[in-house]
Point group: C2
Chain length 439, copies 2
């Protein structure tokens, strides 16, 4: 006889604690098809409403991991860091971070996902490079990490298949918004890769899933507690997503901006955060002093070694290596570019990052449903940041669109998403805080 | 594009009120297959945890009704009463009530269900009468109500198909236990039959779904509020289910006991409650004084007119009419009968009705899952009631079983389910209270 999940569902429905063995059976049963969508969805809703304690969350995370294989990364002789962002707008840090830490003597292995909703996906961005292959076997990933020190590949169903199955159900049943379920989903994918350091970038602000920094810190702490329970080293930054991190929103546009940062030719928050995170990895894994680590990271960008690592990574994954030297010649370009300008003089007071993400999605850069096609070329570039002084009519960026109507709609959306104010405005700190679980 | 239910699920997840149109779309979408099990189960779990207000409950009930047709009962010239029990152990009242009110000049139309769990189902009980057909068309039901004044038939999917679909999902997802969902399920089936009076028997006690009378009264009031919202007359009794109502637990055994009551040859709580409910219907629909109504109901049992109505009903539904005069000759009998006796002298202090129901189910009288086969012949007869004085070794009933091992197991279960105490014991009142919504 198959196991009856209803007792466990009742326990959570009534606000109780579900035993470890029951949690394992629930996850395993859903993955192997002996537990249907209905009972699983009811259980997930009860989890969203009543929560999961740290032990339950840790057990569920392990059950996710146990649903698949583990990427052991044997014989990668550099210390390996795995970096994860909870998702933001114009967050191209991963594209920069992976080759940057490789240039600093570490290795970065990152299994990434596709975008959904208003946030972009690292896989979608890299796929805008002609020829670039993100579907890599576990052996290929290990070999590339050994040879080049950085690899970004698609999530594979060999690792943590339970997460994909359960995330799809959560997406369909309005059960996404739950700190323990989000933490279990994030951390299962990190635990399944045997890195030496898990570096989490938890976004907080209007463009992020977590709207305020306290909420983001709770998610970060939950993730760190899972890491500690599994004897894995992890650090987490809560960083600002109250405005887009970089200037570009859209897949090829974000690759182009990342390449500019990698070539040392672009200052700003995207570079600053990339340096900050890479320096933290270097401090933790190579015992380098923070200020020295930051200097070395900046030097790797300015001296071309990070760009070299990116070039090797693209080449190893069959992408067009010329993207590093002449991105405009290689990356897809939208037929219509429409300039954006400030509608009045003043200070840029706020940018609604989520609204800009939605506007880019409407242009075709993102998805409403998993599996929707995307247009790699389209998007928005908005150059001013909060606090910048603008003149009336000053150029502030570009819409890249497939059609005139879509371009006009995006123009209106951008105008609504930014507010220009009299007086001064100050952007929040880039990094709100660093968290580390000390056991 | 199909409607996306996630906004409504989120509203209930977060404890809000779901708009009428959204509730209608959820129910209709689940019935027509455009909304999957997962989203519906998540929504139901949120309803169980956060509840539904009266307006939501009423709207959901109407959405259930709107999923099917309505039984109009055109040209039935007697006042029609529809009776429903929330389910108990040895609750054969419907078998008696329908012919009894027919004998009193009213009509009773009852669409009944099968048993699940420890409580019996009226359809299962009547199907133990050889030849008896419970699957009747709506036209046949109306014609029989007109001709004979009583009809008990199976629930049909023409009426309230949403209820069957959603109940099955609730059963699978641990979302049964919710007063508004139970009330919507009960009342949708009552609203879909155009009776003049809805008479609800809400059971409270160890053998019922609602363990205490206050909880049962809340369910009763919720049902009455739905009736009021739909301009339907309804009354509700909260009655005792702290011990089995009659002596018999098991399908043919309960028919045999009901026949004994209908023939005027059996006193006790089963008769008393049948008289009480029939008298209430007569008071309400025919403006008869309570004491006169009770006398007329008792006389119909003692004078044979109720038995006549039952005989006509059985005959009209192709059952063997001899069941009224010689039930033992007609009803299936189990091969093994094992006497039960008191294990000590004292007063019968308590009977765990749910445990006896489970013991009868284990004998084969009931189901664990919908669709399981049942054995019509098996069951338990326990004659003493709480407060009765027992001698050591005194015969107290019989096990009717298919196999010796099962009979022994049932014997042990009965011994554990009853407690014989020193000193006195008093049974709770048969009817705790009557409720009527006065608008």
């Amino acid at each position: 006889v198959t196991w009856d999940p209803r007792g466990s569902i009742e326990t959570k429905r009534d606000g109780g604690t579900v035993a470890p063995d029951e949690l394992r059976r629930l996850i395993a049963g859903y993955v192997d098809g002996t537990i249907d969508e209905g009972p699983m969805a009811a259980f997930l809703m009860a989890c969203v409403i009543h929560g999961l304690n740290d032990d339950e969350t840790s057990t569920m995370t392990q059950a996710f991991v146990d649903s698949g294989t583990t990427l052991l990364l044997d014989d990668v002789d550099r210390p390996v860091v795995d970096k994860h962002s909870t998702g933001g707008v114009s967050d191209g840090v991963s594209l920069i971070f992976a080759p940057l830490v490789a240039a600093l003597g570490l290795a970065c292995v990152k299994l990434a996902g596709r975008g959904l909703g208003h946030t972009g996906g690292t896989v979608d961005k890299l796929e805008s490079i002609p020829g670039m292959r993100l579907d890599r076997s576990l052996d290929e990933i290990t070999a590339q990490a050994r040879a080049i020190g950085c690899v970004i590949a698609s999530q594979t169903d060999e690792l943590v298949p339970a997460d994909g199955a359960i995330y799809a159900l959560r997406d369909a049943t309005a059960t996404v918004r739950s700190v323990p379920l989000i933490a279990a989903s994030v951390m299962a994918k990190k635990l399944a890769v045997r890195s030496d350091l898990i570096l989490l970038d938890v976004k907080a602000g209007s463009g992020a899933f977590m709207r305020d920094t306290d909420e983001a810190a709770v998610l970060a702490r939950t993730c760190l507690a899972i890491a500690r329970d599994h004897d894995r080293r992890a650090v987490a930054a809560v960083t600002d997503m109250s405005q887009p991190l970089g200037d570009a929103i859209g897949n090829a546009l974000e690759v182009s901006e990342a390449v500019a940062v990698l070539n040392g030719g672009r200052a700003g928050r995207l570079r600053d955060l990339s340096v900050e995170l890479a320096a933290r990895a270097l401090c933790t894994l190579a015992d380098v002093e923070p200020s020295a680590a930051r200097s070395r990271a900046a030097a790797a960008l300015d001296g071309g070694t990070a760009a070299d690592a990116f070039r090797r990574m693209v080449e190893a994954q069959d992408g067009d290596r010329r993207v590093v030297d002449d991105p405009d010649a290689v990356l897809p370009r939208a037929p219509i570019t429409r300039p954006l300008s400030a509608h009045r003089a003043g200070t840029l007071g706020a940018v609604d990052a989520a609204a800009l993400g939605e506007a880019a999605r409407a242009l075709g850069a993102g998805r409403s449903e998993p599996g929707d096609p995307i247009d790699p070329a389209v998007g928005i570039v908005l150059t001013p940041k909060v606090g910048d002084r603008l003149e009336d009519g000053q150029p502030i960026g570009w819409i890249h669109a497939r059609e005139e109507g879509a371009a006009r709609a995006a123009d209106r959306a951008v105008a609504e998403a930014i507010s220009i104010v009299d007086g001064a405005a100050t952007a929040p700190a880039l990094v709100h805080r660093w968290l580390e679980e000390v056991s």
